[in-house]
Symmetry: C2
Subunit: 136 residues, 2 copies
């Protein structure tokens, strides 16, 4: 079974307090700044476990090959509209989209459909304030 340790608690706390997507490294650094040292391997292991438990969402950063994690109460299937400037993200339910995807699959004889979809843009705040990049 799953045991509650100091470090798991720290990680969960941090994730719950953060509305934006963070890399494993971000989490590691942020915890270090709070004085709660947690090994990077442990960070990865816990984020992975949380992802499997659907407590966090995982996406891939736009250009790079880094996974980003974010706490997420809603464990239904959904997508994200993420600000590439400040990292903030909005959950999107894909009603219309899912239907479109199924149609496309059917048209080409594909079954057992699955998909990856992420939307990236600039949120209104970042557009207005011309914020170049948000400090983590």
């Amino acid at each position: 079974m799953q045991r509650m340790t100091k470090q798991r608690a720290s990680i969960i706390d941090l994730m719950r307090s953060r509305p934006d997507f963070l890399s494993a490294n971000d989490v590691h650094e942020l915890l270090k700044n709070t004085g709660q040292q947690v090994g990077i391997a442990t960070v990865y292991r816990n984020l992975q476990a949380l992802a499997e438990a659907k407590e966090v969402d995982v996406i891939r950063q736009e250009g790079t090959d880094t996974q980003l994690f974010r706490y997420c109460a809603d464990d239904d299937h959904h997508h994200h509209l993420m600000c590439r400037c400040c990292g903030k993200s909005v959950d999107i339910i894909g009603d219309g989209f899912e239907k479109w995807a199924e149609e496309m699959a059917a048209k080409h004889g594909f079954t057992q459909l699955n998909h990856t979809l992420e939307l990236y843009g600039m949120c209104n705040e970042c557009t207005e304030h011309d914020t170049p990049h948000l400090a983590k």
Copy 2:
């Protein structure tokens, strides 16, 4: 300017002859099997150049962190419906989808929208023949 070398020619030839998505490593191996040794770094450099020239499409493999490349005549923006079993993929034009995405962005005050979208499934052949995995 761009120079045509043996190795660039080999890579382009291979890509043109392949309808499925290949990793840089696949390309490297396949060329090795043909006797046309090409350094892995060169494979990467050329695939990257081809991607910039929009001669190949790049996607990320479903679970992993590997990029996959595929020759693509059509340089307009489009998406892929890919068979997770045999790797075959179909180009999809996103008319309906693009519009939906813009609506979603607008609704939440996001601009400069961009997105990643890939569809994965089982093609009819793979479903019928119950092909477990295609040999590369």
